[in-house]
Amino acid sequence: MSDRPDQSKQPTDLLTARAGQRPSGFFEQPGVRKFVRNRPAVGALTVIAVFLLLALLISMPGVNLVPLERATERVGPDAVPGFFVRASDEKRAAFAAFWVRELDKSLRASDPEQAIAALAFAERRIAPLELGALRDRLAEAQAMLDGLDEAMGDAEDARFDLEDLAEELAGEDEPSDALREQERELREELAGMQRVVRERLVALEDAIESLYPTPRGREGFAYRVRLLAGTDGQGRSLLLRAVYSIKVAVQIGVVTALLSVFVGTLLGAAAGYIGGPVDHAVVWLYSTISSIPYIVWLVVVAFVVREINWTVPILDKQLNQTLFPVYAAFVMNFWVGPCRVIRGEALKIRGLDYVQAATAVGCGRCRVLLRHVLPNTTYLVFINFSLLFVGAIKGEVILSFLGLGVQGQPSWGIMIRDSQPEVVVGFFWQLGIATAFMFVLVLAFNIVSDALQDAFDPKHVAGEA
């Protein structure tokens, strides 16, 4: 308690004496001090700050850290694994086939000169060669691709034969030496074929490297960053999409949480403090809204608002191309939570001495509400803000899965939705990266709201929102 204001000085009058006993600055309040001592909570707050900063950098017109075009352009073949993990031979062959196909397409275009000039995947461009030379290289690469396919087909056949033989061997009690010999030969043959496949694959990849040289220096670094988390089913950079989605998530979270907390706090405090018919009306309103599952409101409201044929003036976009339907659906549901909690708190505060004293001194209702009741619910406002932020981020995933959420830009929800067919065939990168980003942000908010609860309301039962 040594950092409390020095009380040894003799107070000149009663007023300053009381001010001296009250913890003055923001950081000296007991709750704030308890929160600051909580290391994980401070770390989580830093993480949130980083996310907010990133969102700001992405959306600020001057900086434009990750422009929308960057998040939606093709940077390479489909479903490239992240962190430069080596893909299976089949996938590598498919990647090679992609590069060859793209070159082929451009050379067949009505104006090959122009098509070749435009043939670029972010920083990775076609080698600056004459059209004739490119045609020769393409023919070469196509021949190599055919050879590779053939070799892979042979290896596949040999593997099937070997499996059949192994079954035959397992079925017999005393396998004949001839059969064993046959199996050994087949095994060797298969190993040889696999070696051929490898060699041809490496040769083909070298040919492609000379056709599309990997950029070096700054550009090379940028390209490698793009491929860091792999690509999605349309060859778009997963890392950039996930980073861009920070902006979408923060936007949805901040707008819906702010609006809902504002509406909820105002109505809740008014209902709790004023009481009477106001209280009845507010309680009745929120029990009506929470009387049906919130997903029904979410789906119906999002759908109805999307269908309204109206062009938003400033953004100059159709309403269903903006995030307004999402905001509307969330705010409609989310204001109930803070309203309920803050009404309860206001009811409690109404009976406290200082409110009675303020009324006795002659403060009006509005002044008591704004100066005495609301400031004492601040911690609840913060807790509810972070709970609703998390709710909005999670709800966005559900709405996007249902096709009622974010439109025309990537978001974690859209990435998770798109990852479903990929997961079935065993490609987890898209699901993983979107979940990881979301996990970090949601975890940070959860830690912060738990710490706030611990610091300001220790008697609260955890998990009760």
Binding site: S291, I295, V299, I308, G413, M438, F439, G463
Partner: protein, 325 residues
């Protein structure tokens, strides 16, 4: 007791009426007929359809008639999307919905209470910390991720490993054949157990933390100390004293979880192709099948409010003090 039940029912009737009013108004903000028939439809065609649907009557009259039909459970309007009446579309979807929601709710409550008990009994030890950390981390992952991974590993991967299909990837079959109970259970498990398990895993993160906190709070209270002091066995204290007193928050919690389970079952129904009410609602909205949307939403609200009344009554059974308030 009965007067309490009647009071609860009477309190909820106006709520239901207003919900239906709001929903009917919401669904009429954009002309449903124009949305259904599209831009190519002529003005006459739209007007004729509105006339046929009775959408050009005064709104309050539509509202009253809808309520009257609803009270008699008479949905004889034709669906716009399917060659059936609304009743034929909506009613068959109730059982598939309940065959996910009810087991999910029951199972998740049981599992979470048990885990909460384990954590509370080992308060501060490693097992408690590990369980609670797991719960917090589990809460930070989207529901959809659980569903996608659950389908991948529960349906595809497991079948590949075992050589037989344990859980269906998608689909539903009517399992309510009471003549062969074993077969019924097997069919149910084939189609519904995987979604139910996913739902349980997701809700567990939220619930265990809460149950642990409730039990810890009760365990440090005076009556538990008294019970121990007079020589009750640990088991008797746990089940006879502690769990009974924790019943109120537990029931509250189950009530709070209910909407969450409904959200989950909507996602699960859509994902696993189970023709429940959530999927019917979603399909009717996407296909702009206005009569079905209206009926499903009203039916969902009715069921949900009925379950709210049921929980209120349960409260009163567990804690007689509630009846007086």
């Amino acid at each position: 007791m009965w007067s309490y039940v009647v009071r609860r029912v009477l309190y909820n009737v106006p709520i239901f009426l207003v919900i239906v009013l709001i929903l009917m108004a919401l669904l009429r903000i954009n002309d449903p007929v124009a949305a259904r028939l599209g831009k190519v439809a002529s003005a006459e065609a739209i007007a004729a359809e509105r006339e046929r649907m009775g959408l050009n009557r005064p709104f309050l009259r539509q509202y009253a008639e809808f309520l009257w039909d609803f009270a008699r459970m008479d949905f004889s309007e034709r669906s716009w999307d399917q060659a059936q009446t609304v009743g034929q579309v909506v009613f068959p979807s109730v059982v598939p919905s309940l065959s996910i929601t009810v087991p999910a709710l029951a199972l998740s409550a049981c599992v979470s209470i048990v885990i909460g008990l384990i954590a509370a009994a080992n308060r501060g030890k490693f097992i408690d910390r590990a369980l609670m950390l797991g719960a917090v981390l589990g809460m930070c992952v989207s529901y959809l991720v659980y569903i996608i991974l659950g389908q991948k590993f529960g349906a595809f991967w497991l079948s590949e490993r075992l050589g037989t299909r344990v859980f269906a990837v998608q689909g539903y079959e009517d399992w309510t054949t009471w003549s062969q109970p074993l077969n019924a259970v097997r069919t149910w498990a084939h189609y519904c157990l995987l979604p139910v398990l996913i739902s349980v895993v997701v809700t567990m993160g939220y619930d265990t933390r809460f149950y642990r906190a409730v039990i810890v709070e009760q365990a440090t209270s005076d009556y538990v100390r008294t019970a121990r002091a007079k020589g009750c066995g640990e088991r008797r204290v746990m089940f006879k004293h502690l769990l009974r007193n924790a019943m109120i928050p537990i029931i509250t919690r189950i009530m709070i979880t209910l909407p969450f389970v409904v959200v989950g079952s909507l996602l699960l129904e859509i994902f696993f192709g189970i023709p429940g009410m959530g999927r019917t609602l979603y399909n009717s909205i996407i296909n702009r099948d206005f009569p079905v949307t209206q009926a499903v939403v009203a039916l969902l609200a009715a069921i949900f409010i009925a379950s709210n009344i049921l929980t209120d009554v349960l409260y009163a059974v567990v804690d007689p003090r509630v009846r007086l308030s």
